[in-house]
């Protein structure tokens, strides 16, 4: 069975894949301050997207999903900030964070002209793709390259939430009418 090839999924995956490649080419590891920055950036991107969705959607289930994204990712960032303070670490910007930011701008631009069901489906498609990509990044990049035990524990604790968001988004996408569509 062919894998879903929605353009947003491809864009997010490419952003992370290219970042992984760039990191591997230049340096095999992210430093812990860089891992912290990636984590905070990934959360902030989804919070901003959810806030935008709340201003655009009229679907109750989509609004509820967006509210959960804001609440959960805010809670995670608060934990990350508390941990950074405890460790005396200042999150450091890096190529992966930049790629995530660029991907977020593209995703936002793609959603901007959409309204109604078309918006809801595209937003939830994006959330499916984004959470899958973040889950992959947690498993393949963030946890393996983190040296600090507390930071690794935080990432490990966050992983089930990201996986649950992914399942929630997939269910919602079906309720909105079918599985995420494939690209043309």
């Amino acid at each position: 069975m062919p894998r879903p090839t929605h353009p947003l999924l491809v864009a997010v995956s490419l952003a992370i894949a290219s970042s992984l490649h760039a990191q591997n080419a230049a340096s095999p590891d992210l430093s812990d301050p860089e891992v912290a920055h990636v984590a905070v950036t990934a959360n902030s991107i989804d919070i901003d997207m959810a806030k935008f969705a709340q201003t655009r959607t009229t679907n109750g289930a989509v609004k509820q999903f967006a509210a959960t994204m804001i609440t959960d990712h805010t809670a995670v960032n608060e934990q990350a900030a508390a941990l950074a303070k405890k460790l005396g670490v200042t999150p450091a910007d890096n190529a992966v964070s930049q790629s995530l930011e660029d991907g977020a701008k593209q995703a936002r631009a793609a959603l901007e002209p959409l309204h109604g069901k078309a918006f809801d489906r595209a937003y939830i498609d994006r959330e499916v793709a984004y959470h899958q990509a973040v889950l992959d990044a947690i498993d393949k990049l963030l946890i393996p390259t983190t040296e600090n035990a507390d930071l690794r524990q935080l990432l490990t604790a966050v992983r089930p939430a990201v996986a649950t968001h992914l399942e929630h988004a997939k269910h919602l996408r079906i309720e909105l009418g079918g599985t995420p569509r494939a690209s043309k």
């Binding site: 959960t68 609440t71 959960d72 809670a75 604790a157 939430a161 649950t164 269910h171």
Partner: protein
């Protein structure tokens, strides 16, 4: 004598407290058996907020439980009661009361 009679008839059962931990985006245990009069305590061990909210007319809702916060319900009705987290609809639990 009357006390013994009550105990024999089961009226003297001391209500118990059951704890359900919410961790890793799951209820532990996901299936719990309790008796009328018992108390169920849900404690949130996750970073993100959760609820334990009854489906149908069973009628309890812990409300939002932030990290390390707990909520409780004193069991009032027999039957198999299903509940979920309103924030994360993929999280389910069952409370069997008999």
């Amino acid at each position: 004598m009357i006390v013994w009679l009550f105990l024999l008839l089961g009226f003297g059962r001391v209500p118990q407290t059951h704890t359900v931990e919410i961790r890793g985006m799951e209820f532990h245990p996901a299936a719990l058996t309790a008796a009328v009069g018992d108390t169920v305590v849900w404690i949130n061990r996750d970073i993100v907020p959760h609820t334990a909210t009854a489906k149908g007319s069973a009628g309890w809702d812990t409300g939002s439980l932030v990290a390390s916060q707990s909520g409780r319900y004193v069991v009032r009705h027999n039957g198999v009661l299903h509940y979920a987290c309103t924030f994360h609809p993929t999280m389910h639990g069952t409370l069997t009361v008999r």
